[in-house]
Amino acid sequence: MLIYCIKRIGLGILIVMLAVTLLFFMIHLVPGDPARILLGPRATPELIASMSQQLGLDKPLPIQILMFFANLFRGDMGMDVITNRPVADIVFGQLPYTLSLILTAIIGAALIGIPLGCYSAINRNSLADRVTGILSVACITAPAFVVALYSLLIFAVYLKWFPAVGAGEKGDFGDQVAHLVLPAFAIGLSWVGYLSRLVRASMLEVMGENHIRTARAYGLPERLVVFRYALKLAVLPTVTVIGVGMGFLLSAAVFTEIVFARPGLGKLIFDSISTRNYPVVMGSVLVSTILFVISTTISDLINAWLDPRIRASL
């Protein structure tokens, strides 16, 4: 397991480095002066000069790449020319909001979707299974921004159960949680449906396998057969999907944060694109990428922990 962990984390780091290199070339190999492009409409000769200096544009390309990496490694993603604050500070200031939103959404969806899928699989073709089936498909097909708008209207505006906008008072945990409910619901709802369908399908597949027949032929109680012998295998694809799904959640967060006027990475990306503040866009994209790599790495590690064959494979 330890060897697998080291290899898999090493792979994750490699992927991040590749992504960073790609990003570097995206900025530097487009025609024109990178400093001018990064500064966009605000490009004054002085700013261009200082930006060129900061990027090391006067040095040869390999040195530039090294500098790029070295800066990133120290957590330096350059300065935001508008607010004159380090990009890293801005991005990491917004990160907790998005992270808490995404994690609440996906953990909530898993906690509801996985048991629902198990229940459907065990009671296959029952009325309850059919109803969950229809509801799940309805959830899957409802786009996050539509759910966001309607939940805002219904639960915040009419029923006034939850606050409508913002992320809550700083330091007031209860208030922050209350502000988290609706946005997390908006992006998590389709995942409840999706995960329940996925778990149902893989559960049914596993329940048909030979070793389950063996477990039953030994008279093991059905509870043990389902939750120890079948579920451990049936969640493997779900864990992978959740890991990759973090990428989709990051993009769903953009809509949701705008609708609920919540701070966060999505809102930051949206705002900085509209003001053409490229250093901040870049910083946010970079952090999102790293987040994505981390989540897929974690999901792979969980799978390896669950399934010894995966451990042996890398």
């Binding site: 030979n210 070793h211 027949r213 063996t214 032929a217 030994y218 008279g219 043990l224 064959r309 042996a312």
Partner: protein
């Protein structure tokens, strides 16, 4: 009846399919005397697995049992509740499945699976593990204590089948059912496993219902043999009777196609010209008539009765009937 561990009477099993009702087994009678090894032989699709699934009551959901009794240790298995049935499984009644590669759980250690099935015993975990270690030792797994912490994919096919046998015999059942346990193994391993089974059977003193399409293995291992064709028992008797003086033309053909010489046995299925009849729309008369080389007029319309060919040697064929 008390001298039998298992007595199957008049058992029929149907599958509901899109084409109609498939009569996979019809009026089957099988006896497994205490302490004996009974072989069931027949071509692929003749209903061997259906027979086993009926005995352990794990038939597919589209199956039903229109008539029959499966008497196991004095109780009709078919009338037991699901809970009572579960008490028998893996305790009085154990099974070794055909494919050792897929019949063990891939994400649980061997030790976990072997101790889990002892869930009925009020023993400590250490005692259960010790029991499993002893079992693994008796099936010839070297260094069983540390092997217990390994997963199925870390064992070879032959070893996995040994583990499956160890699991099945761990509870010292009174009946062990083996569904072609050696089909997935190569010839040398097959012989080893057969010897192992025979040796363990005599130490534990259980009875064995051994399914195979391989006559050589049956001859080597079993006391009695039951020949099934297309869901019906066509001949049964002691191994020496049936193999030396086969009475049914199907048995004769099987023996012809499979030289009983174990040293140079072929591993292919016996090939007899023609095909198994369609089990959805059964022909009238004898079930084997279309492939029979000694067919007479009576075979077309009249179903052959089970008759005594010799002591404990039964056959269903018009050629052997008195008139």
């Amino acid at each position: 009846m008390s001298k039998n561990v298992l007595t199957i009477r008049n058992l029929s099993v149907n599958y509901q399919t899109d084409q109609g009702t498939l009569q996979a087994m019809r009026n089957v009678n099988i006896d497994v005397p205490k302490g004996s090894i009974v072989g069931v032989v027949g071509e692929s699709g003749c209903g061997k697995s259906t027979l086993i699934s009926t005995i352990i009551r794990l038939l597919a959901t589209n199956a039903d049992i229109p008539n029959g009794e499966v008497d196991f240790e004095g109780r009709d298995i078919l009338t037991l509740s699901e809970d009572e049935m579960r008490k028998l499984r893996g305790d009085r009644l154990s099974i070794v499945f055909q494919d050792p590669m897929s019949s063990l759980n891939p994400v649980l250690t061997i030790g976990k699976q072997m101790t889990d099935i002892q869930y009925r015993d009020k023993k400590t975990m250490a005692q259960k593990r010790q029991r499993s270690i002893n079992m693994l030792e008796s099936v010839g797994i070297p260094d069983p204590a540390s092997r217990l912490n390994q997963y199925p994919h870390e064992f070879s096919g032959g070893m996995r089948q040994r583990i499956a046998i160890a699991m099945a015999l761990q509870a010292e059942p009174s009946l062990l059912i083996a569904d072609e346990p050696t089909t997935a193994l190569d010839a040398t391993l097959e012989v080893q496993i057969i010897h192992l089974l025979k040796q363990l059977q005599s130490t534990i003193g259980c009875s064995v219902l051994f399914i195979s399409h391989h006559l050589g293995v049956i001859a080597e291992l079993c006391d009695y043999v039951v020949v099934i064709y297309a869901g019906e028992v066509v001949e049964e008797g002691t191994v020496s009777d049936v193999f030396k003086r086969p009475q049914h033309p199907y048995t004769e053909k099987l023996l012809e196609c499979d030289p009983a010489n174990i040293a140079q046995k072929t591993r292919e299925l016996p090939t007899i010209p023609g095909n198994v009849p369609d089990l959805v729309s059964l022909p009238s008369g004898c079930i084997f008539k279309d492939r029979c080389h000694t067919k007479i007029d009576r075979c077309d319309n009249e179903r052959p009765q089970r008759i005594d060919a010799a002591d404990k040697h039964y056959v269903s064929c018009h050629l052997r009937s008195p008139q």
